[in-house]
Amino acid sequence: MTYNFDWSVLWRGQSGLWLLQGLVTTIEISVVAWVVAFTLGIFSGAVRTVSITPLRWLASFYVEFFRNVPLLVWMFFWYFGVPPLLPRPVQDWLLNHGAEFWAGMFALGVYHGARFSEVIRSGIQSIPRTQFEASVAMGLTTFQVYRLVILPIALRLIVPPATNESLNLLKNSSVALTISVAELTFQTRQIETYTARAIEALTAGTLIYLVLCVSIATIMARVERRYAIPGLIARVKPA
């Protein structure tokens, strides 16, 4: 006996619409979470390299605390744990305005922020010490050194690992289905519920993720080429 594939379930009925809705939600939650993660990552990653001890400790605490607890636990934490701590009117407002989306977004953003932080820190630490010293010698404050010299170089250096993290974030958004966010994986399961055809639905989901991630990787490869600093960042000619 063989399994009989019936790919038409993917466009019959509402399946196509559901996949599209799931794709949109996946992109929405990932983009917002990415902005949160990247902002948190730049701040905490930079702070971990400065010489102000309490700030460094604070940033280290954030990174170690958030990256060392499974994402699934964070999802439950932000969805089930945080709302009861908020004032009643805020809770009610949230519940009627997609609490699950915001909880999932925070879980993703804060978790990946801690991971981005390490990527950015390694970027900063790979810059020769003389760059700091030269900047300070020119009369720049620490904040100016970071804003004008260190971060612009560090951000160019970390494009490949940051792309990696961004793709992870996108794929990890599927964990949000545990708190009822109707993203892409959720929708593939919904198709399975309606048609009892799991393999077709999962394959559709797989291909959409694959296409999405390959597109992002391609765009990031261009960004990397475009912003490389000639002479500073050694490049291998693309094959």
């Binding site: 063989t2 089930f80 699950e100 009822s180 399961r189 519920t193 309606y194 009892a196 694959l210 390959v214």
Partner: protein
């Protein structure tokens, strides 16, 4: 880029041409390995759940152990061992088709669309969907849920019906019973819908059962069957005969009393028409 596209094309063609080849029937597989594997739940009391003593038990599991397993052993003329694996609404059909389990024995509703993928045993339990709410909530049934936040289990038949019949209800779907109940307990949702009997089980197991109420008429018909791979009538025959013998000998009703009787885990009296329906499924020897 060209290489990437080539890779993608290869992947698609491989995925498209997979055929799940299977040389042996379920009974042959069981005979060879000496193990009969069922897919069942861990959080659906009293059908299948992990109890206080950390034992994996329940009505569905008992039915398999006392009525189907001995029959398989007898038929194959050797002692067969029962093994349990966890299944969930969205994994149970793939678990079967991939040969990971031989029988789904939990709380699976027999439906026409599922019958296109798997075969079902005769119905061993019949229930319908209702709502679990905090006592005193204005929700009284499916007529009163418009605009309300309702939790359901992902991949369940109830979620599908609510979406079709009350599209204005805000449906939130959770992967399992504990998460959905948590959302209800925390007020993230105002009601949780599932099969009445499962809600009764959940209520009985809740820390304070009196805080909860099961409301509404059945808004769906949920006949539970055991699912198996399609087109394997020898195995299906063993499962069905096992269930029929259990009903005919009264063993089924003893088990019913154990789990759903007044002293059982979830008191849920057997309606006379349900009993009659079960008995009428038994065909003569």
């Amino acid at each position: 880029m060209k290489r990437l596209l080539l890779l993608l094309a290869t992947f698609i063609s491989v995925a498209g041409s997979i055929t799940v080849a299977r040389a042996e029937t379920t009974l042959e597989k069981i005979s060879q390995t000496g193990i009969f594997t069922i897919g069942t739940r861990t959080g659906s009391p009293p059908f299948a759940y992990v109890n206080k003593n950390n034992e994996w038990v329940g009505f569905s599991i008992d039915l398999v152990e006392t009525s189907i397993l001995p029959l398989i052993s007898k038929k194959l003329n050797k002692q067969i061992k029962l093994e349990k694996k966890e299944s969930a609404p969205n994994t149970r059909i793939p678990l079967l088709t991939s040969n990971a389990v031989d029988l789904i024995a939990e709380t699976m509703t027999d439906t026409q669309s599922r019958r296109e993928q798997v075969d079902f045993s005769l119905t061993f339990f019949a229930t319908g969907a209702q709502f679990l709410v905090k006592r005193g909530t204005p929700i009284k049934g499916i007529q009163t849920i418009a605009g309300k936040r309702i939790a359901a289990q992902q991949g369940s038949t109830n979620a599908k019906i609510i979406r079709e019949r009350v599209p204005t209800a805000k449906l939130l779907e959770f992967p399992d019973q504990p998460a959905a109940f948590q959302a209800l307990a925390q007020g993230q949702v105002q009601a949780y819908t599932n099969d009445g009997i499962q809600l009764a089980g959940l209520k009985a197991k809740a820390p304070k059962p009196d805080e909860w109420a099961i409301v509404g008429e059945f808004f769906s018909y949920e006949p539970y069957g055991m699912a198996m791979r399609k087109n394997d009538s020898d195995f299906r025959q063993v499962v069905n005969v096992g269930l029929m013998e259990a009903i005919e000998s009264g063993k089924y009703f003893e088990l019913y009393e154990k789990w759903f009787g007044p002293k059982g885990e979830v008191p849920y009296p057997l309606a006379p028409e349900t009993k009659r329906f079960l008995q009428m499924q038994v065909v003569p020897k």
